[in-house]
Symmetry: C2
Subunit: 221 residues, 2 copies
């Protein structure tokens, strides 16, 4: 119980500010931007807030600060949270889409188009079932284009070790969402998993590189 | 041979622009910002450029566009490239530092300090040798703080699967830099490896999640 009150008790905005560590002005801004549901009005200029507001504030903060989402992208995720009809799997897609690179579509150059087709083939060879519009397909194609523009004759198979690592992680990650978890908790885990553990993975990869490079004794100078 | 000329031949800035796909104004901007070495002056307002300029332009583009480095951070990497005394292992640290999150240091809160100490302990338990100032230590601590602020009683051991994946990848990644590779090529691989394959790993993790989530048949709704 984070607010130290039973579920049915409520607090004023000043107390919500203290509990969340966010200024009152920021909380009001989030409400105006549809990132946070309004409190229950108790008087013309007064409202009460409960545990659900505190949870949402923490989630919004993770999206904006750690995930570096735009307000518009975070709003899209929040809107999806409110849709009880949406299966969790679809919400995963929406979270990925909001987090995904915002790739302009006007006129992809020939090498970008070729790289996208190569990535599509590669994912099919892996036997991975992913939606045709997944932004991560484009992000992966972007990495392939970068390699080729740097003069490397890169085949998507160059990504094989990373695909193996991802294939090892994904089932473990999904297993942290037990089927009997309440929907709101499950949804939070999906978003936290995407944002927080991605940051952790990136950090650990660099730390491991430094460790193994040190072990190799700086042999390349 | 990317410019289709022998190494000792040179080209004007207009041809460098065509070969790199970058506007002349951008190339001049990079020179002013010390991201690109000047051409060899052939007349008061004219200079010749060679293969080294084209290679550097491609690298700068990867850093700024895919790596989303600031100009100042990219300049730090470029300055390190010019230092022939620097061992490759140090350059890995400099590239990571430039790419790392720019975490403010004025007054870390208690929970941030605690998370940093916990991450330091965790890395020691793993037996990883990484410099005390590595920005990735702080990035990992940031992920731990986020989990705890979301109300999870998180121990750094929650990162174990990611550490295993990183430990699997790092030796494979370092092996792509053979000891007899010319230094300039080795350096390029370090930076490309950090930026491009990180983007690929992040994309593949999300694709693998979508695949395994689809296989699980959206059981959580």
């Amino acid at each position: 119980m984070i607010l130290s009150t039973p579920e049915d008790l409520t607090v004023r905005i000043s107390e919500l500010s203290r509990a969340s560590g966010l200024p009152v002005a920021t909380i009001k801004y989030y409400i105006r931007e549809d990132l946070l549901h309004a409190g229950r009005a108790t008087a013309p200029n007064q409202a009460d807030y409960d545990e659900s507001h505190l949870r949402r504030l923490r989630l919004v903060r993770v999206m904006l600060e750690l995930g570096e989402l735009s307000v518009a992208s975070a709003r899209a995720v929040v809107a999806a949270l409110g849709d009880d009809e949406l299966p969790l799997h679809s919400l995963l897609g929406i979270a990925h889409h909001a987090l995904g690179p915002d790739i302009k579509e006007d006129a992809p150059s020939d090498d970008v188009r070729r790289a996208r087709a190569d990535v599509d083939d590669y994912l099919e060879r892996l036997g991975w079932r992913v939606s045709a519009g997944a932004p991560s397909r484009r992000a992966l194609a972007g990495a392939l284009v970068a390699l080729r523009r740097l003069g490397r004759d890169a085949d998507p198979a160059v990504f094989a070790p990373y695909a193996r690592a991802a294939d090892y992680l994904a089932p473990l990650e999904l297993a942290t969402i037990p089927p009997d978890l309440p929907r709101s908790d499950a949804i939070e885990r999906v978003i936290v998993g995407t944002v927080v553990f991605e940051a952790a993975l990136v950090a650990l990869r660099r730390l491991a590189q430094e460790h193994h490079s040190a072990r190799a004794g700086n042999s390349v100078t």
